[in-house]
């Protein structure tokens, strides 16, 4: 399952989508909205995605992970729209026969997602806003 959604992410739904009876381990990463950046209070974030390309790029990451590890199941959900501190922005769940691979695959997927998937967030502070990572 790959999902880009404006609705709050239901973590259990993502885990269930990644679960298969062949698996002996399910590893789940939950990315949440932090309340500060470099000491500045974050009021909210706004996420947007180039939906069709984001889904295609996530699929490429999954394909690479599948070649490298023995994934029995996987699911990724990314939220877009307005999010407030504490809310869940992304959930990655992978299942594998043994635990070691599940940690490695889950980390690879979230690290790659942050590098190549066309999703953007804007941070809103009390005195302004900025697109994250846009400028050096």
């Amino acid at each position: 399952m790959i999902e880009i959604t404006e609705q709050p992410i239901v973590v259990q739904k993502v885990i269930d989508a990644a679960s298969l009876k062949e698996a002996g381990a399910i590893n789940t990463f939950i990315g949440t909205v932090r309340n500060q950046t470099a000491g500045k209070k974050v009021v909210k974030l706004e996420y947007e995605a180039y939906d069709a390309m984001a889904i295609a790029e996530i699929q490429k990451i999954i394909d690479r992970a599948t070649l490298q590890w023995n994934l029995t199941g996987w699911a990724i959900s990314h939220r877009i729209g307005t999010l407030f501190p504490g809310e869940i922005a992304v959930v990655v769940a992978v299942s594998t026969p043994h635990r070691k691979e599940s940690f490695a695959a889950c980390q690879f997927i979230i690290d790659s997602l942050k590098q190549t998937v066309p999703i953007w967030k804007k941070e809103f502070f009390e005195d302004g806003d900025q697109w994250v990572s846009a400028h050096p």
Binding site: G31, Y47, E48, A49, Y50, A52, M53, A54, A56, H78, A89, V90, I110, L113, K114, Q115, T116, V117, P118, I119, W120, K121, K122, W131, V132, S133, A134, H135, P136
Partner: protein, 79 residues
């Protein structure tokens, strides 16, 4: 050739619209880069700027056609 460009994130702020039409001198992604940079110098200040054609990251040599879906991909920040 007039191309239509989808913009996202900070590139939408810089180009001033979600879908922008632009007269392109030349035919490649690299030519588009040059035109963009000339018209919108603020793009050069970004950490990176990729161009996607039909929802795939495209190299500068890629030749464009009027029916292509072209999008600007400023530094991504998902997760």
């Amino acid at each position: 050739m007039i191309v239509k460009i989808k913009t996202f994130g900070i590139s939408r702020d810089i180009l001033g619209g979600r879908d922008v039409s632009m007269e392109l001198t030349g035919t490649s992604v690299g030519d588009l880069r040059k035109s963009l940079s000339k018209q919108f110098p603020a793009l050069d200040k970004l950490n990176s700027l990729f161009i996607a054609v039909n929802q795939e990251y495209a190299p500068d040599e890629k030749v464009l056609s009027v029916t292509d879906e072209i999008a600007l991909i400023p530094p991504v920040s998902g997760g």
